[in-house]
Symmetry: C2
Subunit: 347 residues, 2 copies
């Protein structure tokens, strides 16, 4: 089982509007609602890859109740929404007799694995995030509530739940921002517990919680270029990933957007690149990459294969029409085409 921790879960709303005009009144033309927060997104992708996951963190209030209802529906919903047809099936898939290769395709994919809700209930309301999508130009404006104020005893309950869950975990991902009331060293505390329990731990956060967390020596961090620059002061990915390793992270995988990923590991440095730039919505691409890295770790893949999977998954997420989902056919088509190159200089 893979454990994901999302301290600041969110009810993610997407509002489509014909065009976003500041200071005007807008009728929302379409709404979607899904359980969010980075660790929940990671769990959704892990489930699609066939990995059993448990999600913990906080949820509360009426928004928390809706989030948990949607979470309970997840594995079966993802199974339904994923497109199992190969990318080159073209119009044949929907017109006329279905070719045997298409009908057989789903068998090559594992069934979605269950996602178990081990969230800790809090008194406050789970935050909402609102992505306002301008249907004219496709751009997204994001509004994020801060999250509930978490009390000391609620944090203590989370720590106790986390310790229990670590006992059965093959790996753990600590994901996203901290809600109000949680001390800035919270992730460092969770990293230390995982290391004490001998569970590989990935930390995906930013700012001061990342800085403190790294000092507790996580196995893996996955900053993007901006987060890495804020952490190290350097915009040179190679220099910055090395600096981040010196600060305490065993491995640093920097996500460089359309340029793929740079991994500085104890075994060497690799650069993985998608075959081409793709148009689409990058929401959730980083979370898909985390799922790729974690699943590869648990399956015992080497670094090049883990990176290939992470890059293919995040590119297939950008290509998906639904923000945060990945396009399964695109993923299969991309996987063998991701380029991985080893840097000859030492990490």
């Amino acid at each position: 089982m893979i454990l994901t921790v999302t301290l600041n879960t969110a009810l993610d709303l997407t509002y489509g509007v014909p065009e976003l005009v500041p200071h005007a009144s807008h009728r929302v033309s379409d709404i979607s609602e899904r359980p969010g927060g980075k660790g929940l997104n990671v769990a959704r992708v892990l489930s699609a890859l066939g990995h059993e996951t448990v999600v913990t963190g906080f949820a509360g209030g009426s928004t928390g109740a809706v989030l948990r209802e949607l979470l309970a529906d997840l594995p079966s919903r993802d199974a339904g929404s994923a497109d199992a047809a190969p990318a080159d099936a073209g119009p044949a898939a929907g017109s006329g007799p279905v070719p045997a290769t298409v009908a057989d395709a789903p068998a090559s994919w594992p069934a979605p694995a269950p996602i178990t809700d081990a969230l800790v209930t809090v008194a406050g309301n789970t935050r909402r995030t609102i992505a306002v999508v301008d249907r004219t130009n496709g751009d997204t404006t994001q509004l994020n509530e801060p999250g509930p104020l978490v009390a000391t005893d609620e944090w203590a309950a989370l720590l106790a739940r986390y310790e229990e869950l670590l006992a059965g975990a093959d790996a753990v991902a600590l994901c996203g921002s901290l809600p109000p009331g949680i001390h800035v060293g919270a992730y460092a505390e969770l990293v230390r517990s995982a290391r004490a329990a001998g569970v590989p731990v990935l930390l995906d956060t930013s700012g001061e919680p990342l800085r403190r967390g790294i000092a507790a020596r996580p196995d893996l961090i996955k900053p993007n270029a901006d987060e890495l620059a804020r952490l190290t002061g350097s915009r040179d990915p190679l220099r910055a990933t090395r600096d981040a390793r010196r600060r305490g992270a065993h491995t640093v995988v920097a996500s460089l957007g359309p340029d793929g990923m740079l991994a500085a590991t104890p075994d060497g440095v690799w650069q993985a690149s998608p075959p081409a730039r793709v148009p689409g919505n990058p929401t959730g691409a980083g979370d898909s990459a985390v799922a790729g890295l974690l699943s590869g770790l648990v399956e015992g893949l080497g670094w090049p294969d883990r990176l290939r999977r992470a890059v293919a998954l995040s590119t297939a997420t950008v290509l998906s029409p639904t923000a945060g989902d990945f396009d399964r056919a695109a993923y299969e088509e991309l996987l063998p085409r991701v380029g991985v190159e080893e840097h000859t200089t030492a990490a």
Copy 2:
């Protein structure tokens, strides 16, 4: 008892952001949540004026449940938030012994009257509306969900509830937009039932539902200048209010923003104007005006006094720091200073 009908109730969220920048990500700095929809806003003001009200319409889902919880808290909350101190009390109110006039001031106001929840439960989710307030310039960007799809049997349940409630009503206000699934002649149907029951009926909506509703001969409509122009094709308020009367409304009170109100009644035509233009947020000013008109009708006031009250209440709403609330001290100070002039030409 005054009845208000809100077919498309809403959970009104206000998000403060430092500055709204399209296509950027924003942390919401402050959130407020209140039960909304025009008829609920009208009921809140009527309650503050001491008039017992019953609210009906539709509510459903998790957002509907939150709306009803907030509605249950309303009369006591408004009592607490209303400022009973006279506008000229100045710093004395909070520093040193309270002057007798300030201590006595609340006695001049009725206690807030109860608001009774007679909403009909529907399967769909009550809509959210989000007002994004830019704290740099004070401007508001509005995002309105469309509302739940209301089924035929839910509409039938509303009609039955409405007929029952009319039996005990001194007046009824029909307010706001129609949710999906409700036929465009719905307000006309509700106007006819009120007239058959002998209950004075005010209609405050727009577009085709207003056009159809007017043909059913409501006692009063309260369009703003834009709604009136859309209805009649004329931007001349005097001409347009007369035209709207010919279409079936017994009385037309046009709200002209900072210019006050123009009332075309069977007894004559009056123009009511606030003493000065005031800065502030016009959200809810129209709903406060409806409450002023309805309460004046039930109390048997003449047209000049009803208009004076409506204009003072809506101006005090613009002046209030909280969108949709009215500033009580400002209202008392404004009331005797609203100018009312009778037009000598016939209505």
